[in-house]
Structures are given as C-alpha cells and as structure tokens.
Amino acid sequence: MMEEVKGASSFLSVQVHNIKVTEVLQDGDSLTFIIVSQKMSGTGEFHVDRTYEDFEWLQQHLFSQEDVPGIQGVIFPPLPARLQVNASSKTLRHLGFLGLGEWQPYCKALETFLRQVAAHSILSKNRAVEIFLTSSDPPGRQKVKKNIFNRLSQAVEEMRKEGHKDVDDFFQTKRDHNFLLTGYTKMAAEKFLDVVLTEQKIAVACGHFSTALHLCMEQGENPEKQDFSQVCVKLSEVFNSIKKSMTSTAMNDMNTLGLGLDLETRYQEAEKEMLFRRTCKLVELQNATKNAEKAKPVKKAVMEEAKKATETEFRQICEVAKKEIIQLESKHVETLQQALVQWCEKQLLTAKESAEVYSQHLQTFKRMQ
C-alpha cells in the first residue's frame, strides 16, 4: 500500500500537498477557480483555471473508468455541491459551512477534494487528473451522461437494496456503522453551523450597537457631556472588541471544526455510496448464482460464465473497498483530531486575546472613575 502511494505520486508532475485553490473569479453567474500547484521538480508552479463544471467532469470521468479493476470499491473523494452565485439562503443552507464567508471555505473544500484525488492510489493514475491540474486547457467540457453513480437513481434503488443482508460480517458492520455515523455527523455539522451562524449574528449585533453608541455622543464643551460622550465612545470600543472576538470565534469554528465536520459528512456519504455500489454488486452476484443454479443445461455454461465474471468483479470490489474503508477510518480520525486540535488552539488564542483586550477596557473604565 505504501508502495502504491509512492508509486502513485510519480504519475503526477505536481506536489500533492501544495495543490491550492487560491482564488475565485466571478464573471456574471459563473465562477472560476484558480488552482495553483507546485511542480514536482520544485521549480515553478502550475496555474490553471477551472470551473465547477470541470470539477464535475473530472469526478464523473473518474467514476466511469471501466478498465480499472474494483473501481466501484473506491470511496471517491466527495466533491462539494455546486456553489451558486446569488444563491438563496436555502441553497446556501444546503451548502452548510461551505456557504459561509467569502467562498474561502468552499475553495478550501475544493482544494481538499483535489488533494484527495491526487493522493489517491488508484485515481491519481488517471491521465485526466494530471491534465486537470497542469494543462491550461480543461480536459473536457462535454457533458458526461449520468451513469450508475447518479445520485437520483441511486436514491430509488437504495430503497430496495439498502437493507439487503450482507454475506460478509465486516461489511455488514461497516454498513451499520456508516449508517449511524452519517446521521450523527450530519446532525453535528448542522448544529455546529447553527452555532456559527448565531455567533455571526451576535457579531453583527455588537457592531450595530457599537455604531449606534457613537451617535449617542453629545457635542459641547460641558464637562458632563464630554464625560458621557467619552463613556459612549469607550463602550463603543468595548462592543467593537466583543464583535471582533465573536467574529474570530465564528471564523475559527468555521475553518477548523466546521470544515472538518463538513468533510466528514461528505466522506461518510461517499463511503455510503461505495458500500451501496458493493451491495448492488452483491445482489447482482447472488442473482447470477441463483440463475446459474436454476439454469437449464443449455444455458448453464453462459450463466456460469456470467456468475464467474460477477464474482470476480465483486471480489475485486470487496478487496478495494476493504482497503478504502480502513484507510478512510484512519483518515477520519485524523481529520477530526486535526480539526479539534486546531479548533481548540485557535479558540484558546482568541479567548486569550479577547480577555487581554477586555481587561484593558476594564482598566480604562476603572481609571475613569
């Protein structure tokens, strides 16, 4: 596996950990993302511009590699949902954390997607990835027809096959666990988003209060008035500090745990999809086996052949899937840990800074008395 990863990196001429989505350019309703990546040689950078459609194409292209054995067992790095310009609050809400701020979280999510793809042992082998990252021309802009991975069709089938009993205890457990975790992660992300949104509202409210306090200043030479004006100005400063503190708290939340939970949610979904594809294959195999058993001698050979093919395919999928799941699990823990640690550190920093500022304000007021 380690070898594979090492080998994989040789397929690309860029350093995986230096892929960055640096900018968003808005042209009317369309958004263009600037992707910057370091050359493997260490000299020079690739600068490419890609639209969301290009990302979508890449994702689809990777999905539909039929020549790669067990491709359906791969947990595809999840591409965030489309970001719309002038989106309504409802669609923004659908984006969750990625809809916050000035698109930075979204860029971050795209960046994560590209890195995951580039780092993936199987996916990075595809030429399209290299082209996507390095060529100034996009690898292909034609609409790809929706395949089996289409989420809508999946949703329908899901109803039937979701509950299908697995033959493999490992996968059965993983499926159950994934089902549970997906729900909880999603919920946690939503609740955390609520927290962040409220923090932003508070920051705005503090800002308004701070501005309004400036209006309370009274002009004049009268020392009483000046005193009161001074109190107003100082209080305005206090609330400005509270606003800053709140804003940076919200920012910390968003950039660390928020993005972490969001990524988690999407990865859980991706895993779920993969497990589902495997289940579908399993159902297919079981049907094929049944058919082969029941088949009349004339057709028996054909049926056996089909069964064997499916069986091989299924085995390959299982093989890849197992690896992918184990890898994902370690990645999942790592992601969350990183998110939590970073979050905690940043919050601690903000809290300390705020405390410092507040204590200065307090001193000022004590001196005034």
């Binding site: 666990h177 549970l180 975790l181 909880y184 992660t185 919920m187 946690a188 939503e190 609740k191 955390f192 609520d194 927290v195 409220t198 923090e199 509202k201 508070i202 409210a205 503090c206 308004h208 209060f209 309004a212 306090l213 209006l215 309370c216 009274e218 009483e224 008035k225 005193d227 009161f228 109190v231 100082k234 209080l235 206090v238 509270i242 699990e329 823990v333 969350l336 840990q337 939590l340 640690v341 979050w343 905690c344 550190e345 919050q347 601690l348 809290a351 300390k352 705020s354 405390a355 507040y358 204590s359 304000h361 307090l362 007021f365 004590k366 005034m368 008395q369």
Partner: protein
C-alpha cells in the same frame, strides 16, 4: 398636577374684585356659616379677605407674598397670614392648608384629615374643596357634598349682584375660603389646646395673633426636632429657626416662617411619622414648598440663595447610605386578581429612619402609587421624579395564568430589578428622600391601597408621556424660548431619547441572539455526545464526549452573558428611556409655569386697559376697584415670574444632576459588565485549556 396649569387661565378670565369682597363675604358667611357665628368677627376685616382671595384666585404661592405684605403692615391679619406658612408644620394648619392644596391637586387624604381634626370647620372646607378643582373626585363624606351644593348655589346667585359682570367661581371660592380660613383660625385658638401643642403660648397672645404664635412655636419645636434628627443637611437652617424662636409675631418671624416651611419640605418634620395626620402631611409639605419658595425670593433673596447653595451641597453629598433591595417576588392570590408582592428591604444609617434595616412587603401598584404621589408633589416644582417600570399586561397575564416558563421568570426578574433601581434612584435624590411618602413606603407595615394606577399601565403610561411631549411641543411654538440652555437641552433630550430607544432595540436583539447561541450550543453539545457514542475509535469517542461537556459549560457561559447583556444594558437603557421621559416632563412643568406667567401678564394688561377706560369714563367708584385689581395682578405677575424662574432653576439643576448621574451610572454599569465579561472569558480559556490535551490525545 395638571389642575395647576388649568387654574391660572380661569382665574385670569374671571374678575376677582378685592374691594367687593367684604360684601360677598357677608353673603358667603351667611350662607356658609349659619352654624358658626363666632368666626365672623375675624372675617369682617377686609385684609384677610384679600389674602384668601388671592389664595384661591391665583395659586397657592400667591398667598405668602400677600401674607407677608400683610405682615408688614403689622395688623391683626398677621395671624391669619401666618396660616399659610404655618400650615406646614401644625396640625391645625394642615386643616386649613388642605383647601389650598386641594386647589392645586386633590389629595383624598387631605379631606379626611380635616374632618378628624375639626368637625365644624371641616364642612365648609370640604365644600370649597369639592368644587374648586374640577378633578377632585374623592370626597370622604357625602354630607359635605350636599352642603356644598346648597351653599354653592347660593353663592352663585348672590354674587352677580354685588359684582360687576362675570363673577368667577374662583372668586367665590376665594371668599368661602376666607371664611374657612377664618374659622380654623378662630377655632384654632381652641384647637391648639386640643392638639397638645403649646397651649400656653396660644393663650398669651391675642386670638388672631395667637394662632400665629402658636404656629411659630410649633415651628420652632419641629425644626428643632428635625435638626437634631437630621443633622447633616440642615445645620445652616437651624440658625434660622432659632431666630424664629426668639421672635414674636413680627414681620421677620413671618419671613422666617416661610423659610422654615421649606426646611420642612426638604427635611420633613419627624412628627408626620408619629402622628396619624401623616396622610395629610405630604400634601401640606408640598404646598408649603411652593408657598415658601416664592416668599423667600420675594423678600429675602440672599436667604433663598443660601438655601439653594445648601441644597447643592446636600446634593453633592448624595446620600448613598440608603440601600434598597427588592426581593422575593411572590404571587398573591389566584386567577386574574392575582398580583405580585415584593419584599422591599432598606438598609440605612440615616437617623431619619426609625431602624437601620427595614423590610416591608409591597405590591406592584404600591410602587406606581408612590410615583404618582411624588410626581404630583414634586413634578410641578421641576424635579425629575424617577419613574417606575410600566405595567405590563402581557407579562403579568402570563404570571397570573401561572405559566412557569422562562419568559415569565425573565419578566419577573427584569421587573424586580427595575423596581429596585427605581427605588434606589428615589432615595438617592436628596429632595425625594425627605418626602414622607417615600419614608412611609419604606417603613410602614401596611400601606393604603394605591388606587387609579390604571393611568400608568403600559400603553397608558407611554401615552401619558407622549401627551406631555405633544403638549410641550405645542407650547414651545408659542413660547419664544428666552433661555438658549433650555432650548438646547430639550433638543438634546429628544435626540438622546431617540438614540436610547435605538440602542435598546439593538441590545434586545443582541440578547435574543445570545439566547439563541446558548440554545444552539446546547444542541451541538447533544449531537457531539451522540457522535461520540457512535464513534468506534475510543480516543476520538472520549474526546467527543469531552467536547460535549465543554460545550455544555460554554452554553452556561452564553446564557450568563445573555443575562448580563440584559441587566447591564437593556434594562439600564430602558431605565434611561423612562428617565428621559421624566426629564421632558420637568421641561413641561417649566413651560407651564411660563405659560402661567404670560397669562398673568396678559391679564394685568387687560386690567390696566380697564383702568384707563374707567378713567376716561370718569367712574371713580369702579376705578378704585380696578386699581386694586391692578395691584393684585401686578403682585401675581411678579409671583408667576418668580415661580417660573424658580422652576427653571430647579429644572436646570435637576438636569445637570441627571446628566452627571447618568454618566456615573453608565460607567459603573459598564465596569461591572466588563468585569463579568472578563471573568467569563477567563472561564472559557480554562475550558479550552482543559480540552486541548484531550483533543491531542486522539490518535
């Protein structure tokens, strides 16, 4: 006190001829005084009639000016003139003072009081009272009313004959009043003996002057008490009293009397606390304030100045050693008749209170009742009376229905705090602290049920304030503001009011968000706990459940912060919106005083024209009357002008005091707020510091 403003115009439109008074007087006495013939001897003297005329025709303040004039003349009337001044302190005085007060404002208590003291005199008194202020609804005895109706009709029928054209009701009342005053006087010489007050002095002097002497004596004793009890503020005044003591009923003593009356206003005779006459006291003292102040200004400007200075000094001290706490809101009764009662504890080292620590139970309407009393008494003088929180039908209904949700708990806590701050503001005001009603409110076990607080309820309260503002606005158009300071201040107050309202809305929305944050944090804590429980990785699972705990604690912090925002700012600002309303009210009262003065001037002008006409028509008989009227109105105008100046001065002082306190108040509150903010931030740091190793331990 709206009655006040209503009076002057009416008194001006009417013609109150002083010279004709003796005739009417007789009429009146015939009508009124069938029961008591003895009084007539005193009544017959024309001078006193003048006085009382004025009392009723103009305002109460008028009395002293004339009273003093009389005193200068050194006639028998001096005894009579003493009365208005003497009222304040003495019980008999109160009875006679009652009508005057009632002219201005109606105190139901007053009416009851005279009836207790003297039954005979009471009736006519009450009659006069019952009519003079149109809005004098609460009459103790129906019999009195009857009496009045009879008399009143007589009076009305009788007067036009003797008087020129439009004989005013005021004038009529002025006359009966004379009788009334005369009566108490006459009666007083007897009553003084009844009322355990220095009967010896009373007897020593003549009947008329004796009353004055008696009053003085009473005066001298009372102030003495006061001063011994409240040494702090009153030291300079003591000298005044001592001179009074040494003097007989002379001109000087007269003057002193008035000054003492003020002393009593501000210091409040201790007697009121002891005696059952208590109830009548507040009104008496309030009237005396209005009475005495002009008297001082008229005759002894230096003394008045001194007093002003004294007051300023007293204000600087700003007795903060009275601490009020309002606690334990408790629902009494059930259903829609339920009300909230609060425990009011007063901790003080001031000797004017009976105990160092007093605790009484008061219901919400009692707080409103106190405000009503205070604003009626002190509002017209230009004091800014701190307003209590409004009645809240919605909030109270919730409480009544018995919903024990957080919003009604929040409501009660807010109101409790508001009531506490309201009382604290009242006792921090050096003038209001001296008010007997305030002390009664803080000390007395049982308080008579406050009525008619309806006007102060919620929307009604706001409407009242708005109405006052509208009235001010209308009047301002007419009033060419001579004083730029007031013009500027009024604008400042208006804009401050707007700003504060905006701030209040902003803080309230901030509080809403804070509460939302607290709720959301709690939700996140829950889902973090669930995520932790579903997690396979033990370290991660533990970290997540730790996170849930941290978030739970943070939720508490947010909640506290919401409360902190509410009580530090939202409530503070709400208080100040109310206070700014009170400030505008004091401006309003100043303009009313101005209006009165202007109306008086117009009236004087009219009288002069009449005189000119009469002179032209060569009617010497009526000319004298017109001349008298001019003299009378000249005095009145002077008086009104002084009133206006006095109210202006008070308002100015009060506004400055208000601004100063506002700054201090905000500063204190902000400091407290910052302290708790800092504390909560430090708590937050602790939480994060504790969590960091847990997060790092995941692997």
């Amino acid at each position: 006190m709206d009655d006040l403003s209503a009076e002057p115009p009416s008194s001006q439109t009417e013609k109150s001829a002083a010279s004709s008074s003796p005739e009417e007087f007789v009429d009146l006495t015939n009508n009124l005084e069938s029961a008591e013939s003895k009084v007539e001897a005193e009544i017959s003297s024309p001078e006193p009639s003048d006085d009382f005329f004025d009392i009723l025709g103009s305002e109460t303040q008028k009395v002293e000016v004339e009273a003093s004039v009389k005193a200068d003349s050194g006639e028998v009337s001096s005894g009579v003139t003493d009365l208005p001044g003497g009222k304040t302190g003495s019980e008999q005085g109160t009875s006679s003072a009652a009508p005057i007060i009632n002219l201005n404002a109606d105190f139901s208590d007053n009416n009851q009081q005279p009836s207790r003291v003297e039954n005979k005199t009471n009736d006519p008194l009450a009659q006069v009272l019952s009519d003079t202020p149109a809005a004098d609804p609460k009459k103790p005895s129906s019999a009195v009313l009857d009496l009045f109706e009879d008399d009143g009709s007589d009076i009305f029928t009788g007067t036009p004959q003797t008087k020129p054209a439009s004989q005013p009701q005021k004038g009529l009342f002025g006359e009966p009043d004379e009788d009334l005053f005369g009566e108490p006087l006459g009666a007083m010489s007897k009553k003084t003996t009844e009322n355990e007050v220095k009967s010896s002095t009373t007897k020593a002097a003549g009947p008329a002057s004796s009353t004055g002497g008696a009053q003085q004596d009473r005066k001298s004793t009372e102030p003495a008490d006061i001063f011994t009890e409240e040494a702090v503020t009153t030291v300079p005044r003591t000298s005044n009293t001592s001179t009074v003591n040494s003097k007989a009923n002379g001109v000087h003593s007269e003057e002193d009397l008035f000054t003492e009356a003020t002393v009593e206003l501000s210091l409040d005779s201790p007697r009121s606390g002891r005696k059952k006459e208590e109830t009548s006291k507040p009104s008496a003292s309030s009237s005396s304030s209005s009475l005495s102040a002009p008297a001082k200004q008229a005759k002894q400007p230096p003394a008045a100045l001194e007093e002003l200075e004294d007051e300023e000094e007293a204000e600087k001290e700003d007795q903060f050693d009275v601490f009020i706490s309002v606690k334990d809101p408790e629902k009494v009764g059930d259903g829609m008749n339920a009300y909230m009662a609060y425990k009011v504890s007063t901790e003080t080292s001031l000797p004017m209170f009976r105990n160092k620590l007093m605790t009484v139970r008061r219901r919400f309407s009692d707080f409103l009742g106190l405000y009503e009393k205070l604003s009626e008494k002190h509002g017209p003088n230009g004091l800014i009376v701190p307003p209590p929180p409004e009645k809240s039908i919605l909030g109270m209904t919730k409480v009544k229905v018995g919903k024990e949700d957080s919003s009604s708990a929040d409501f009660l806590e807010r109101r409790r705090g508001a009531l506490e701050r309201y009382l604290q503001r009242v006792v921090n005001h050096p003038m209001l602290l001296q008010d007997p009603d305030v002390r009664e409110f803080l000390e007395k076990e049982e308080l008579p049920r406050a009525v008619s607080t309806q006007a102060l309820s919620g929307a009604g309260f706001l409407k009242m304030i708005n109405k006052a503002t509208d009235a001010v606005n209308k009047m301002t158009i007419k009033m060419n503001e001579s004083d730029a300071w007031f013009e500027e201040k009024l604008q400042e107050v208006e804009s401050a009011d707007q700003h504060f309202r905006k701030l209040h809305a902003l803080v309230e929305s901030l509080v809403v968000h804070r509460k939302e944050l607290s709720l959301n944090t709690a939700n996140f804590a829950k889902s973090a706990a669930m995520l932790g429980s579903a997690e396979d990785n033990t370290a991660l699972s533990r970290a997540l459940s730790q996170l849930a705990e941290v978030e739970d604690k943070i939720e508490q912090l947010h909640q506290d912060q919401a409360a902190n925002d509410t009580f530090s700012f939202a409530e503070l600002i709400a208080d100040y919106i109310r206070l700014l309303g009170a400030v505008r009210g004091s401006f309003d009262h100043r303009i009313k005083a101005w209006q009165r003065w202007q109306d008086g001037q117009a009236m004087l002008q009219k009288k002069r024209e009449t005189e000119a006409k009469l002179l032209w028509a060569n009617k010497p008989d009526k000319l004298q009357q017109a001349k008298d009227e001019i003299v009378e109105w000249e005095a009145k105008v002077t008086q009104f002008e002084r009133d206006f100046e006095r109210v202006s001065a008070t308002v100015r002082k009060e506004v400055i005091r208000f601004e100063k306190q506002r700054t201090n108040n905000f500063r204190r509150q902000i400091t407290k707020y910052l302290e708790s903010l800092l504390q909560s931030q430090q708590q937050l740091i602790k939480y994060w510091e504790a969590f960091l190793p847990e997060a790092k331990a995941i692997a």
